[in-house]
Amino acid sequence: MTARPEGLPSDKLPVGGAMRVMGSETEYGIHSPSAPGANATMMSARIIQAYANLTRQRAAGGAETRWDYTDEEPLHDARGWTVERSAADPSQLTDRPPVLDAEAVALAYGRQELEADGGDESGSLLMNMVLGNGARLYVDHAHPEYSSPEVTNPRDIVAWDAAGDLVALATVRKVAADPDLPAINLYKNNTDNKSVSYGSHENYLMPRSVPFGDIVRGLTPFFVTRQVICGAGRLGKGQDGSTAGFQISQRADFFEAEVGLETTIRRPIINTRDEPHATADKYRRLHVIIGDANLSQVSNYLKFGTTALVLSLIEAGQAPKIEVHEPVAGLQAISHDTSLTATVRLLDGRRVTALDIQWMYYEAAAKLGQETGVSDSFSGDGHTRDVLERWESTLGLLGSNPAGAASSVEWLAKMSLLDGYRNRDGLEWNDARLGLVDLQWSDVRPEKGLYYRMLSRDRMQTIVDDAAINRAVIEPPSDTRAYFRGKCVSSFGKDVVGASWDSVIFDVPGIGKLQRVPTREPLRGTEALTGQLFRKHATAGAFLRELLGLDPTPPA
């Protein structure tokens, strides 16, 4: 629970600390060992379909809802311009529903099967769902992607991000239970180690008034170095992993630019995609593409929590005034050095380690937390103090006894396992068995995923318990608009024809036209504001009439 300072309006969060509207996106690696040549987009659609079938069983009327693309603006650049569609890479056009042609569909499914369970009423494949927990589950390029609902703090992001892993697991089980289909494995990682990478993105809401240049300057040194606490670890160096060894980050070798709009090519440390999915003159959604997907809850928590703190520093004008010389090269040098002694040069001439830079940010964030009061143990916001304490203790361990951080920092946990194999069996870094350990670390099945094997032996610390994650699969967060979206889907699924981050569209019998309910304020549509309405009305018609002030329903 979050302490709310008295007098703070219900649609504002305490500023200066780790609380912020945020969300995660995970593209899962997808592989069918018994059908290695299977089309990845088809398999991804099969995964989405599997979840649609599961939720149809769970919620009468169907909990799955189509995505509404009206407000997608992937070509808007935060620096103030829009890329011509013709100049964009086709993979950047994420505002159009992906289309599967009939031939491809028939190849993957067969007509009869599609009619039996693969398609909706219109006969097309479901590629895109809005879930009852407020998340989005869809086919993104050639991967299934789970985008978490908006939450307000780093503890909740750990729960709703891990809920996505349970959603992924449920789809894997569902497909595996069909004797006529090849089983599909999903991996929460970021590379196939053959030169392809796929993302795990973070989203943070910021006031639009913060100049984008401040964000670039304030974040770049932090993003170059935060991998030491939240890197997921990777076997091999270089985009194709062909240079033997182990490195801190899954993603570092795939970044080639400092700032840019692209996410699939020439990947930049700072991504400028400017789709606020909210009132555009008030907010920007900072789209972060440089992170690794995390299974370790502590790494995930610190990834979001410390980044939120640094954004608060930037907003307050108190980010450390440092600039890294050649940040892309620095990012990779730091990732390639598990001894944590590599240095980067700052523009003022100093040579510093990743830990040095992290400490500079920590000190500034601790100071701001104290000044604003959000890190106070009694009157604070209930989150900032914990993030600061874990950040401090993790940096301390990394500097003095890195092995001691193997139960919390993901790359160290993975490295401890790889070292175990190397010591016991005398394996070289390029041994295929180590490659398998790296890959299977992220298998979403608890009996196969090596992270989960470590977790079951209490070798990994946790932030939230299993019950909270299980709840997050079904329930939306209570304190953002995701509550409204999720409750609309789970309560009135059959009358909801579409939804997106900032709208829910109803088609209700008796109400003439489609009703699009905008949800452009991320901190409205909360349980506090709309819970009563959901509890009061059993039908979408009555709910909508009161919500929109339409003709009142005559008393029964």
């Binding site: 593209e27 690696g29 997808i30 592989h31 060992p33 018994s34 290695p36 990845a40 987009t41 993979s91 993104d140 390029h141 050639a142 991967h143 595996a176 239970a177 089983a183 991996y187 590379t191 196939d192 180690n193 053959k194 392809v196 990478s197 796929y198 993302g199 993105h201 996410t263 699939t264 593409i289 401890s416 396992l417 175990g420 194999y421 016991r424 295929a432 068995r433 490659g435 398998l436 350990v437 890959l439 299977q440 099945r445 009996e447 196969k448 090596l450 094997r453 470590m454 032996r457 070798r459």
Partner: protein, 67 residues
């Protein structure tokens, strides 16, 4: 294949309790050997869940590009 993969690995948590709880705090050397023992047991368990034919499995894991 699904059936054979879903086999639950044997729990090997027993050895952790083999040490008498009343025993005085172990010397650093003994602690290290307990830690090593834990790693060995962990690796034994993981041997049992790793996909067979590591080289082929890793080679076949080929992804299409993403964001």
């Amino acid at each position: 294949m699904a059936a054979q993969e879903q086999q639950q690995p044997q729990s090997r948590d027993v050895e952790a309790e083999a040490d008498a709880p009343e025993a005085p705090p172990a010397a650093p050397e003994a602690q290290a050997s307990v830690a090593t023992q834990g790693v060995d047991d962990l690796l034994d368990e993981i041997d049992g869940v790793l996909e067979s034919n590591a080289e082929e499995f890793v080679r076949a894991f080929v992804q299409k590009g993403g964001q």
